[in-house]
């Protein structure tokens, strides 16, 4: 008798919608993420003040450099993320690098941990190749900066003695870019792209001790932690998660179309000719684009926008599931209350 009652209870529609099995929930999630991504759907997102602040700061450095060609300012990038956060941080890094190379702003990059080095090296050279940037003149990768705090402090005077060589073993005093861009006085901005707590160290050392402006690019999970600093103006803007990356990506793509033209493919195809190829050292990148690389470079230009379409699907799916769960919960409670009332009435 009791078993029958229990079975009847389980058969009720509101109990059933409350207990969808995990594999089906996971399968649904998989589909709503993978379908928009494979369909190459892109979402145009609205732009927030915090992202605009980072973008405008870079634009101001560009304007300053145009007006002061002998006293140029560079940007120091803390490549502070590892493999686990690449889906969110890669689009941020790509957009930021593209913006800096487009505006011809000298870039100095370092990474605080061993596993980040390979990522930083590949991402930086990948984008440098798209803009014909010269290693040692337009950009440099310093390699490992561990413990990062010591390097942050040393950059107040000169970062060269603590490194000795760059990532590729070149003597720091042989790299032309480092003659000028070796301390905070000549960096207009520090941008830390991080999935960890590293931006707080940048704030404590570079910003608090040496008054260096610091912008942050971070994962959505970490963003809540950095909002107080961004709101108080300690961080010069923030690129938060995939949404922030998509905003920055949109802005940079608009700029690129304005400077290079609407169709990027022919630009990439004709970037390296037989004549100019010899100017580039093959150690950093191969100065030649094949069709596969052009296709990847084009996809990279809206990587965050594509990710946003998957994120849209995932968010809506979670909301629908929560609503379904709550409808079931509401009717279950109602039925329980009714039963209790009936029992009391009897």
């Amino acid at each position: 008798m009791a078993e029958n009652k229990e079975q009847k209870q389980k058969d009720k529609w509101y109990v059933q919608i409350m207990s969808i099995k995990k594999p089906y929930v996971y399968l649904g999630m998989f589909l709503v993420v993978i379908i928009p991504f494979l369909a190459n759907l892109k979402i145009k997102t609205y732009e927030t003040d915090l992202v605009k602040e980072v973008y405008q700061k870079v634009e101001k450095i560009h304007e300053y450099n145009l007006n002061h060609p002998d006293k140029k300012k560079g940007v120091l990038i803390g490549f502070d993320y590892g493999p686990s956060t690449t889906p969110e941080c890669d689009p941020i890094a790509y957009s930021v690098f593209r913006h800096l190379f487009l505006r011809d702003i000298p870039i100095v990059v370092w990474a605080p941990y061993g596993p980040y080095l390979e990522l930083a090296d590949s991402r930086l050279n990948r984008i440098a190749k798209e803009y014909k940037a010269n290693y040692g003149k337009d950009y440099v990768f310093m390699g490992l900066a561990y413990p990062a705090t010591a390097y942050m402090v040393s950059t107040s005077s000169d970062l060269r003695p603590v490194f000795n060589t760059d990532y590729y073993g070149n003597d720091v005093y042989d790299l032309k870019i480092l003659d000028r861009f070796n301390n905070y006085d000549n960096f207009g901005l520090v941008i830390t792209i991080s999935g960890t707590a590293m931006p707080e160290y940048w704030l404590r050392y570079a910003n608090s001790l040496y008054n260096q402006e610091v912008s942050v690019g971070t994962t959505a999970v970490n963003a809540a932690k950095f909002y107080p600093y961004a709101n108080s103006g300690q961080f010069t803007g923030m690129i938060a998660g995939l949404k922030g990356a998509a905003e920055y990506e949109q802005k940079v793509t608009r700029l690129e179309k304005e400077l290079i033209g609407k169709d990027i493919k022919p630009y990439l195809r004709n970037l390296y000719t037989e004549k100019n190829r010899s100017k580039f050292n093959k150690e950093y990148f191969n100065p030649k684009f094949n069709e596969g690389e052009i296709r990847t470079a084009m996809l990279r230009r809206h990587q965050a926008g594509r990710g946003m379409s998957s994120q849209f699907g995932a968010h809506i799916y979670v909301i629908i599931l929560i609503i379904i769960g709550n409808i079931g919960y509401f009717f279950k409670r109602k039925a329980e209350k009714d039963r209790t009332k009936r029992r009391r009435g009897v």
Partner: protein, 209 residues
């Protein structure tokens, strides 16, 4: 034994704790602070040795005593040795077999594995939200409504832009207020724990007690 296991570590903690504190607040010792920072990679190097030794001990025991788990432990060992050997030889090289082998292992095994583990969160969160996010009291309703607004706001466009604005407000005002409170609390907690450790009141890191 008591000296090596308890008294010496305790004394070192007190000495270096006070020293680290003094170096931070006395400007005249700034030069020593840089030296202290340089020592950190050395300590980090030793922590890797301890980590590898501990991992080896744990999985060696598992291989001996747990036949069902043996395969996973063997895979862990093989991965550890392979990555260490290939990394040590290939990382400093400019080109060559080991360099490209290391790069391929890093780019096509290590990176996707780490990203996969992180992305599994999405699946767990979906399942947990579906089962646990229920409107039972006013406070949970408030949390649920805020969650909805922020989730919709992050992907808002066109006619749904109102969620974008509301989401921005939630992130910039209530979230910041709560985070500031949390951060102050955490900061005070860290300070209190650090003082207790330096003064030898908190000794649980030595094991036992």
């Amino acid at each position: 034994m008591n000296f090596w296991k308890r008294r010496l570590p305790l004394a070192l903690t007190v000495i270096y704790g006070l020293l680290g504190f003094t170096l931070q607040i006395v400007p005249a010792f700034k030069g020593f602070l840089d030296i202290q920072n340089m020592w950190m990679p050395i300590i980090f190097g030793f922590s890797i040795i301890i980590g590898v030794a501990s991992l080896t001990k744990y999985h060696a025991t598992k291989i001996r005593r747990e036949p069902e788990e043996r395969l996973f432990s063997i895979i862990t060992f093989a991965s550890l040795i392979l990555m260490a050997v290939v990394g040590l030889i290939g990382m400093p090289q400019q080109a060559g077999f080991f360099k490209s082998f290391y790069q391929n292992l890093f780019n096509y095994v290590y990176v996707p594995l780490q990203a996969t583990i992180f992305s599994l969160l999405a699946f767990y969160i979906t399942s947990a939200a579906y089962r646990a996010f229920k409107v039972s009291e006013w406070i949970s309703t408030l949390l649920l409504v805020s969650g909805f607004i922020v989730m919709l706001g992050r992907v808002a466009f066109g006619p749904f832009m109102i969620f974008g604005e509301l989401s921005e407000w939630i992130m910039a005002v209530p979230t910041v207020a709560a985070m500031r409170g949390l951060m102050i609390g955490i900061g005070l907690g860290i300070m209190a724990t650090a003082i207790k450790i330096i003064l030898g009141i908190e000794r649980s890191y030595l094991g036992g007690e």
